[in-house]
Amino acid sequence: MTDPIPNSLLADIATLRQVVLTWSPGKSRPVTILYIRCNDALVTHDKLVTDSPAIFRLPEPRNGQYTLTWAVSPEVAVSGMALVVLRPSTGARADVDLTGPKDRGDLWSDSQGATVNAP
């Protein structure tokens, strides 16, 4: 049996928050993330993800909140997409937005920004 992991090594995980893009059907259905911004920081851009979900680490929240902007384009048709913020250490979740069916080439975006309380 391995030794317990010291708390000093787990400290980063306790505060870790992630933005998760999920879509359905999601197996072998590529999606291009044109960009995801969080509190004026670019989280990712022009990235292809072939299977749902796509997970990216977020910076520390500002005033306990995240403001997200994004543009996402499926490479094949999907029946729905959602964007959520997760805190894995507690399992808490903040729903950012969701959309219905999107065809290849459609753009799902919000450049004004959706604000959620950091989970």
Partner: protein, 393 residues
């Protein structure tokens, strides 16, 4: 039970109607419906009906989730529905299996109903690793998201200088107006960039020496029942309901986007061309080759953002010219061959008008030559096909 021709006609009409651009704009079940995806996942949906001739392709070249075609010939009308059922399920992509297609067709000229299954290897699918490499290259080249991010930063930087000399409220209002207009312009550019990026992927996908390969099998059925026997009209004879099997292998090449070449060979171990009482089965071999070229494209390559349908479907709108050469040989005793014809060759020049993926029209004139026990001959008859696919197209 054999499908009634009238009910299939109604089904086709419904499919064609459902696939119209107006219907496609509003997905069934409302925008939030999370049902199965009823759209194409794969490559450019080509014309879903094969070129008519003496040895046609069984499954056509469409890879859409659902496609339908009506072909009007001098002798009757053929209805065809093709589907890739696994496209509707959330499962990983497995080459060949994921694109297995089922085809049902019925022909009023011969009362033939055909059920077919086709198993294609499709290198043009957007769910393959090859496609992922192409998309990644395209993302890297266009950098639409990065450009948008740079543009919005520049907007904020530029607009921050607005309102110098004005009071704080006026300056704030001016800056907000400036940022808002600048942002809208950046969003338009993001949309245009993204459409151009998608369009570029089609060219890269279709530009390959790797052919799509397919094996297909079909079972043919004629009406079941009895009819007056010509030699003895007073004595009803059983109709021949079983038409036999056809096995086919085909290759589709698209080295250049505007060209498409199909090659195929088929074998019918025991097959009959008619369901009439007493019609005999015979062994046939055949094959064909089709070449089409998009001679006149409606697409403006310099402004691909104006063609969102192309970005979505890969269908190059325009007029394509094509020709299909087909041959069929009867390999058994001459007396068993259909109409006594031991070999037939056909050449079908055709014109495809591709308006959108939902509406394509084909005009063809098959000219066939045959050698029979009694005589040699030739015949020609114009045909018209109207085809549609359910796609995001």
């Amino acid at each position: 039970m054999l499908p009634d021709e009238r009910s299939i006609a109604v089904l086709l009409a419904a499919v064609l109607l459902a696939a119209s651009p107006a219907a496609a704009a509003e997905p069934a079940g409302g925008a939030a419906a999370a049902g199965p995806v009823q759209r194409t996942d794969a490559a450019s949906p080509a014309f879903p009906a094969p070129v008519i001739g003496v040895d046609e392709l069984i499954a056509g070249t469409s890879v859409a989730f659902l496609s339908a075609a009506i072909t009007t010939k001098s002798s009757g009308t053929e209805f065809r529905v093709s589907s890739v059922p696994l496209a509707a399920f959330d499962a990983g992509y497995v080459p060949v299996v994921s694109e297995a297609a089922l085809v049902v067709s019925t022909d009023t000229s011969s009362s033939l109903t055909r059920l077919a299954a086709s198993f294609p290897y499709n290198p043009f699918s957007f769910r393959t690793r090859r496609a992922a490499r192409i998309i990644e290259r395209s993302n890297e080249a266009f950098q639409c998201g990065k450009r948008f991010d740079d543009a919005t930063r520049a907007c904020k930087h530029t607009c921050a200088a607005f309102g110098a000399g004005a009071n704080a409220d006026q300056a704030k209002a001016l800056q907000e107006t400036c940022i808002s207009q600048c942002q809208r312009s950046a969003e338009r550019e993001l949309n245009a960039c993204n459409t151009r990026r998608f369009a570029s992927e089609w060219r890269a996908m279709n530009d390959s020496w790797i052919p799509a390969a397919s094996v297909s099998a079909s079972a043919d059925f004629y009406p079941y029942g009895t009819a007056a026997s010509p030699p003895a009209p007073a004595t009803p004879a059983h109709l021949e309901w079983w038409g036999g099997m056809t096995f086919q292998a085909s290759f589709t090449f698209r080295k250049v986007e505007r060209w498409q070449t199909d090659l195929w060979g088929s074998f019918r171990p025991q097959w009959r061309s008619s369901g009439a009482a007493g019609s005999a089965m015979a062994r046939y071999a055949g094959g064909g080759a089709s070449v089409s070229y998009l001679a006149w494209s409606f697409l403006d390559r310099d402004h691909l953002e104006r063609h969102p349908d192309y970005a979505k479907t890969g269908v190059l709108p325009g007029a394509a010219l094509g020709a299909s050469l087909q041959g069929s040989w009867c390999l058994t005793d001459d007396s068993r061959c259909a109409d006594g014809r031991t070999r037939q060759v056909s050449l079908t020049p055709y014109l495809d008008v591709r308006i959108t993926s939902q509406l394509q029209v084909r005009l063809g004139v098959p000219i066939s030559w045959y050698h029979s026990v009694a005589k040699d001959g030739a015949e020609a008859a114009p045909t018209l096909s109207i085809a549609s696919t359910v796609a995001p197209p």
